[in-house]
Amino acid sequence: MSETALAPRPSPVAQRTPSPGGVRGWLRDPWRKPRVLEAITWGYLAWSIIPVVIAIVYSFNAGRSRSSWQGFSLRWWTIDEDSLWRDEALRQAMVQSIKLAGLTMLIAVPIGVAFAIGIDRWRGRIASTANFVMLFSFVVPEIIVGVALLLTFLFLLQNAVQLGTTAQLLGLVSRQISYAVIIVRARLLSIGKEYEEAGMDLGATPTDSVRRVLLPLLYPAIFASAAVVFADAIDDFIVVRYLSGPASSEPLAVKIYAAARSSPTPAVNAAATSMLVASLVAVVIGFVAYRHFAREQRREGMSELTQF
């Protein structure tokens, strides 16, 4: 040890008592409130939330502008010809969004859960390769996946799958499987193998122990991942846009993207708000189910929902 390390230093308590005034004293005071950090935090939160709140409010704007308020009206929701509710294309897009997200959830979550359970216990080179590819599909930027899938459906599978709902669904699922896998595996790590082995000791067959011991323990993670997958699939527009066929197969997110680029009216705000509501409903249902099944394991809390 060097001399300086051994040299006595004033303890924090000793510093506290004299408490020199002025800016330097404030800077030195180890017990000062972290005002600057707090201001930045609230500033960031305001920056991230307030624009969205304003956008929601402007869906009720009486004028065409998305930046100056001209009074309250429901015209962009229900009254105008090109309002969210009366525009045939927008309504169709809404249905398409919900259809795609729901089907994606129903296909991707079971496949992902099964993969997570299997890969958690299967060792070997094939298993680690499969796991690697799965994680790779999670991190690779979406535009790369989107173009790759577009090429596949255009050339390799051109006779099997037309661009449109089927292609969009296949593309969405192959992206979303990894979400379910990651959430469920996090849960599997915290569960451990004891319950299952106890089940087998009590006479359960391997299939029974998965179905009657492991799956119930995984319900919270399964519902959390279903909510995440639904909310993410309904928001997706990168993969879905490349795989869109006729205009009627474009979901709301793609329509919003197109409208936001050209001449946005508050109808875009209304459409975006309705998607926000749909995601929120999915999250609330997921969270309620999660709480219902995880009541005993409250300690893990929101860990699955905060995965990303």
Binding site: I111, A127, L151, A272
Partner: protein
């Protein structure tokens, strides 16, 4: 003797174990030395088969399709691409042409590539500074409001990225609220934000991706044992020294992971740019790809660009995958 047999039939506890077949599925003959619960060899692999089949057809094969189109031909008459599936027939004409637009003589893509790197670097740095501050504050000083902060920090994940960007763009319009506020402040001028300004894109990318930075940072900072900090203080370090020599090194893995998490999607981003600028002065690699996909006969160029982007991103992606693997193994 006789009474013993009767007892036997009534199953004394000791005998029951030896007489009855063990219920726990045992190892097959020849594997009796195996311990623990025994599963058939195919049992766990069979769970993964649907996902493996799915990913093979709809993830691995598509990656190969990028190669077949990038190294394929373009029909000289109809201008439609002809993929070449056999590697030994690959032609590198289209790919070399695309490459020469980036590094060769007719370097029309060079600017966009350089710009992408500059934007991503600036935005990631901004994400880190703001994200670290927020994560640090919530982890250290969140107190009983931690739950509220977490909900607010997670909220952007449930809001469509497009909607957030659209909402932000609405405020940046010429007569929007940002300019209204800037009009009141000294030293700053209202400006036309949405006409291809670099700062708009950098701010916009940061706006879009900060949430992805905060959560891993928060996760790590929240786990740091307060005892370490107190030990640092007890040994005479100032708050700044404690931060620099205890907190910062302990949060380094999360910093690197967070930087990769925000940088990867930024490299493939074209929509932020489309909503915030719509000017070729700010276009990025993602815009080049997106325009090529929809351009007549330019799909091979799109495939080549995607291939180049994938190669560029291979290192950060591998780094991220290795670090998460290490993290799960440590857990």
């Amino acid at each position: 003797m006789r009474s013993d047999t009767v007892v036997d039939e009534e199953h004394t506890p000791g005998d029951a174990v030896t007489i009855e077949e063990p219920r726990r599925p045992g190892p097959p003959p020849g594997h009796e030395h195996a311990t623990g619960v025994w599963y058939p060899r195919w049992f766990w692999p069979s769970f993964t088969m649907p996902a493996i089949a799915w990913l093979f057809v709809l993830f691995v094969l598509p990656f190969y399709m990028i190669l077949t189109v990038a190294f394929g031909y373009v029909d000289p008459i109809f201008q439609n691409p002809i993929p070449v599936y056999e590697p030994w027939w690959w032609s590198f004409d289209v790919f070399n042409e695309t490459l020469s637009k980036i590094v060769g003589e007719d370097a029309i893509f060079t600017e966009a590539f350089v710009r992408t790197f500059a934007y991503v670097a600036a935005s990631s740095a901004l994400c880190l500074v703001i994200g670290y501050t927020v994560a640090y504050f919530v982890a250290r000083y969140g107190g009983h409001r931690k739950g509220l902060f977490l909900v607010l920090l997670i909220a952007p994940f449930w809001i469509n990225y497009l909607m957030r960007m659209y909402a932000w763009a609405s405020l940046l319009e010429g007569d929007g609220y940002v300019n209204d506020i800037l009009g009141f402040l000294p030293f700053v001028e209202p400006r036309a934000w949405l006409t291809g300004e670099h700062i708009t894109i950098v701010l916009g990318l940061a706006y879009g991706y900060i949430p992805y930075m905060i959560l891993p940072l928060f996760g790590q900072l929240d786990r740091i044992d307060k005892d370490y900090l107190e030990a640092g203080r007890d040994l005479g370090a100032s708050p700044a020294q404690t931060f620099l020599r205890v907190t910062l090194p302990l949060s380094k893995p999360a910093i690197l992971a967070g930087l990769v998490i925000v940088a990867l999607p930024m490299f493939g981003d074209y929509y932020t740019n489309d909503l915030l600028s719509n000017s070729p002065r700010t276009s990025m690699i993602g815009n080049l790809i997106d325009v090529s996909v929809y351009g007549q006969g330019r799909i091979p160029q799109a495939a080549s660009l995607v291939l180049i982007l994938t190669v560029i991103l291979l290192v950060p992606m591998m780094y991220y995958l290795r670090s998460t693997k290490r993290a799960t193994e440590a857990a």
